[in-house]
């Protein structure tokens, strides 16, 4: 008996949380947005999502196989990336484009840096940035109920047409698969908050900054909050654990910075959107933010 005793260093009990649980909870949290996508954009939404998820998981598998690393496609992180990317794509996008975007997201956005935990940028946004630069037409063709339309933000920017607020909130508008229904996104976010798997400082400060900035410069802030990718970006992409700050004050800075960039791009930039580049730009600042926002330790005289 005695020589079979297990010896490890303390602590000898651990919490029940795990990386897998966190990632699969994010998948679960995104399901309302997936259902909304299917409701507003029909079954085609499913194919786009499946193509993206398949691309992400397959790329993760191939990279790990080739590099002789442990295969971790079951941890759910690649599924999250594929799902998030798909939700930022237009419903009419060809399936191969969706698939290819995910290959780039996981390949260039995550695995080249060493896989989970090592990516400086949100992988889904890397994939989306790649598609936006490479296939600008495919990425800006919007349809609702089979009819071509424009997103509320570009209607506003190009033609000065505003959209009804309630339609904005529930998602009956032109736009990417998952970004249109703020309601569905908020439902999932509430679940993650309840589980303690997401922080609220980044989305609150990011959305708050956009609200204030747009308001101060004379546009309709409600419209800007619900009319584009801000909700999905602030709730699910800016909060990506790997590529956001670890300190509380750092999270405020990150959110305010990203929100500020959204305002600048949307009001004075060439794009109607701006969430994607705002988050990617702030991702680059994370190591610096963490470095300068270390909290004062108990009893420390700074």
């Amino acid at each position: 008996m005695n020589n079979e005793l297990i010896v490890t260093s303390s602590p000898h009990v651990r919490s029940q949380d795990s990386v897998d649980k966190i990632m699969w909870s994010v998948v679960l949290a995104l399901l309302p947005a997936v259902f909304a996508a299917v409701y507003f954009f029909n079954a085609r939404a499913i194919s786009v999502i499946l193509a993206a998820v398949a691309g992400a998981v397959l790329t993760e598998y191939i990279f790990q196989k080739v590099r002789n690393k442990k295969i971790t496609i079951n941890d759910g992180s690649a599924v999250v990336t594929g799902l998030l990317l798909a939700l930022t794509l237009p419903p009419s996008i060809p399936l191969w484009t969706s698939f290819f975007g995910s290959v780039v997201a996981i390949g260039l956005g995550k695995q080249v840096f060493g896989g989970i935990g090592h990516n400086p940028f949100n992988p889904a946004l890397v994939g989306r940035a790649f598609l936006t630069a490479s296939y600008p037409v495919l990425m800006t063709t919007w349809t609702v109920d089979g009819v071509s339309t424009a997103t509320p933000l570009s209607q506003m920017k190009m033609d000065g047409i505003a959209t009804d607020t309630w339609r904005l909130f529930v998602g009956q508008i032109g736009g990417s698969l998952g970004e249109t229904s703020a309601l569905a996104l908020l439902l999932g976010f509430a679940y993650l908050l309840y589980k303690g798997y997401v922080n609220w400082r980044i989305p609150l400060s990011m959305i708050g900054t956009v609200f204030l900035g747009i308001f101060v410069f004379g546009s309709d802030p409600i419209f800007h909050i619900f009319g584009g990718g801000l909700m999905i970006g602030a709730l699910y992409m800016a909060t990506d654990m790997v590529s956001s700050p670890t300190t509380k004050s750092g999270r405020w800075i990150f959110g305010i910075g990203a929100g500020f960039l959204v305002v600048v791009i949307r009001l004075w930039g060439g794009y109607p959107e701006g969430v994607m580049y705002s988050i990617l730009l702030m991702n680059t600042a994370v190591p610096l933010i963490d470095r300068y926002t270390r909290p004062r330790s108990l009893g420390e005289v700074k």
């Binding site: 005793l5 009990v13 330790s297 005289v301």
Partner: protein, 441 residues
């Protein structure tokens, strides 16, 4: 009454029901005790007995000249069988005196008995505490007389008794508070007198209602002693956390509670102080929780220092067949033992046995920057960042980022979803920083 607390921390499962209602009872008197000669933080001791010598219960068997040390006493009457090296529960190889028990004990400690504190001054109290070999019984084993030796330039406002017992499973302090509240209050008054402190506070986690009631009852009428409930949260019993919770003061980094006018002692230590002063009884026995699902009949026992932990486990019904891990202390900070042939010492407050299916072995995965450790650390450190520095041997950075403030409570490892043994790396990092400091001096 709203429970006081510190910021951050964690909520592990407490599992105190296994033993919290089991009254303390005397363990069987051992046939042989193996008494390690280093059971304190400080200078080593010189052994005072020889092989073959007859010793009495409570007789001093080792002592030192240094200020920071605590003598050690025979825990049975008997014959010194040998003096040899043993491994103590902390994994250190130390000299130990092996005593074969005689048929009967006769107490002969040389300590006088004092009914009350009236005729004793601070120096005399300190001397009794020292001669009785009393050390911090929460586990740190720091000599108690040193804690209440107050330098001329310092004033003490509070003596705080730590009855938080925040380690899951353990219920010794709880039982001592329930069963011996008068001794604890007596000990507290002695410590207050020694430290010249006007006020005493007893901090108890609010999951120990019975202990709170018992202590409140015992100090009725004492206007300068207060019992305060603190929130049930780990590591509430950490010295710095308890001070923060009770009086809102921060112990300066690298400093002592004394620097902010506070002395903290464990409740069981206070009871030992009372035993020494009133009964002339040095610290040769203490209480322990023998608990966990891997134990057949969990118990709270009073055992003689130097009793083999295997023997104590037998008295709690022995190990279950699928017992897999034996820990001295609690699950958060205790040490896993590789065999049961280890003597229990002054700081051993628990033996926890976990079953095979409770002992999860983890393969750590990469850090995902979730910051759960940053949000849990009661010292407001950034464990994940410090571990990155440690893995790259960045010693100066570790020091700058306050690694020496780490209290090794294990909250970071507990919450980590990637199952990274963060506190293990932090211990390594602290050792590196200390080694570098030694080199510089």
């Amino acid at each position: 009454m709203k429970a006081l607390t510190f910021k951050q921390g964690i909520h592990p499962e407490y599992n105190k029901d296994l033993t919290k209602d089991k009254p303390l009872k005397n363990a069987k008197r051992p046939e042989e005790v193996i008494i390690p000669l280093k059971q304190h933080i400080g200078a080593p001791l010189k052994v005072l007995v020889k092989k073959g010598e007859q010793v009495d219960l409570g007789q001093k068997i080792a002592d030192g000249d240094s200020f920071v040390c605590a003598p050690i006493h025979a825990s049975v009457s008997g014959t010194v069988k040998e003096i040899r090296k043993v491994t103590d529960p902390g994994g250190n190889i130390v000299d130990a005196v092996v005593i074969e028990s005689a048929d009967e004990d006769s107490l002969n400690s040389g300590l006088e008995k004092h009914k009350n504190l009236d005729k004793l001054d601070a120096d005399e109290i300190r001397k009794i505490i020292r001669e009785a070999g009393i050390v911090g019984m929460g586990g740190a084993m720091f000599p108690t007389h040193v804690k209440v030796s107050i330098p001329d330039d310092k004033d003490v406002d509070y003596v705080i008794l730590n009855g938080a017992e925040c380690e899951p499973y353990l219920t010794v302090d709880h039982r001592v508070m329930v069963e011996r509240p008068q001794s604890i209050i007596f000990g507290l008054k002695a410590l207050m007198k020694a430290a010249d402190a006007p006020k005493g506070i007893i901090g108890i986690e609010d999951n120990k209602k019975e202990a709170i009631a018992s202590m409140q009852d015992a100090c009725k009428g004492d206007e300068n002693i207060e019992v305060k409930a603190v929130e049930t949260k780990y590591p509430q019993g950490g010295e710095k956390m308890l001070i923060e919770a009770l009086i809102g003061r921060e112990v300066p980094a690298g400093g002592l509670p004394l620097d902010i006018g506070v002395v903290v002692n464990n409740t069981s230590t206070a009871a030992a102080v009372a035993d020494a002063i009133r009964d002339g009884k040095p610290l040769y026995e203490r209480s322990i929780s023998i608990t966990g699902r891997g134990i057949n009949n969990p118990q709270n026992l009073i055992y003689r220092i130097g009793t083999n932990i295997g023997e104590l486990i037998e008295q709690a019904g022995g190990l279950k067949d699928n017992a897999a891990k034996v820990i001295t202390g609690g699950p958060m900070m205790g040490a896993a033992q590789k065999n049961l042939n280890i003597p229990a010492v002054k700081g051993t407050s628990g033996i926890l046995v976990m079953l095979k299916d409770e002992v999860e072995e983890f393969e750590p995965s990469p850090c995902i920057n979730c910051a759960k450790c940053v949000d849990a650390c009661p010292m407001f450190l950034m464990p994940t960042q410090l571990v990155n520095y440690q893995k790259n041997d960045m010693i100066d950075e570790m020091e700058d980022w306050q690694i020496m403030s780490c209290i090794e409570c294990g909250s970071c490892s507990f919450v980590c979803p990637a199952k990274i043994p963060l506190v293990h790396y932090l211990r390594l990092g602290k050792a590196q920083v200390m080694a570098k400091k030694r080199e510089e001096n």
